[in-house]
Amino acid sequence: SVPGYNYEVYHSLEEIQDWMQHLNKTHSDLIQMFSIGKSYEGRSLFVLKLGRRSRAYKRAVWIDCGIHAREWIGPAFCQWFVKEALLTYRSDPAMRKMLNHLYFYIMPVFNVDGYHFSWTNDRFWRKTRSRNSRFRCRGVDANRNWKVKWCDEGASMHPCDDTYCGPFPESEPEVKAVANFLRKHKKHIRAYLSFHAYAQMLLYPYSYKYATIPNFSCVESAAYKAVNALRSVYGVQYRYGPASSTLYVSSGSSMDWAYKNGIPYAFAFELRDTGHFGFLLPETLIKPTCTETMMAVKNITMHLLKKC
């Protein structure tokens, strides 16, 4: 899709943004790039709108990667997804159907400041890079900054902790920008997918309580089929289920917020691996990880296109 761009290595933020700009110019029939706001450090928050342009009403899927800075396989997958979509639009009937019937809003790097910092300074940085007036520590856990059971179990009120929830919900400009976008487009966004690492899981709401979601059977069915499709590629097992029982009860995440705001299919992927490499998933494993994850995402999307 971009000559010479290597999808099997990790890229800096600048490289990813250059790549997005290039696609915006060269694939204007299927891609539109726009900004939804600015990060704390003033960087643009770029999103790609992927899909065949249509005047008719189309539903949409939101995909974000890199909420946590050190989870580099996330942004790598977001780029892979776009690459695959462009490469197979004409040859793959399923992809053609997806892009003809839906728009995909793809945010390859949610936490741009954190990602840049993890690239240049601290490889294991997790949070954003916002400053705190009373403490020397920086950053907020962008997945604990949502207005749904905010700052509860597993989140911290201390700015120096890695799970700091922030001074108030949506305090982080990145979170605010995405939340505003999703609020504005919630009528036609039917799925929210967020990519993290590592644990090899496919999670859905709720994180903050053990209750079953109203559309459990549809979401559970989608998750079951997605995990099976993923496993069919290389045999890699992903656990799946509500985050509260598959992992633990925690304060609300972006996935919970999206669901609470009316998006019926909300998932969080925890990609490879289960700890052998952890956040240092080697570049040689980008291709298999992304290939199998594509199957899961395509499966969820096709499920969405059918009535459940």
Binding site: V9, E15, R123, G154, S156, T163, Y198, L247, G278, L280
Partner: protein, 99 residues
Amino acid sequence: HLYNNRYAGDQVIRLIPKTEEEAYALKKIHHQLKVDLWQPSSISYVSEGTVTDVHIPQNASQALLAFLQQANIQYKVLIEDLQKALEKGSSLQTQRNRR
């Protein structure tokens, strides 16, 4: 070396507390040593049976490993040297670009 070789000698270890007492001890040492928790995302989630991965800086490893041995908490080394793992996982192209 990437990141000025700051991760040389750092390790990542896996612990699975067998009892709530062990889990409590881990929480206590985590607060004291401020180690980087890889999983779960918060120390508050650690209880009996929780798979817990911890990144220990080189200068804290002696204290932490001594504590674990004293408390008879079993652990496994997942990554022996984080700097080596980091550099091994990146292609030459990536390393060249970053330098």
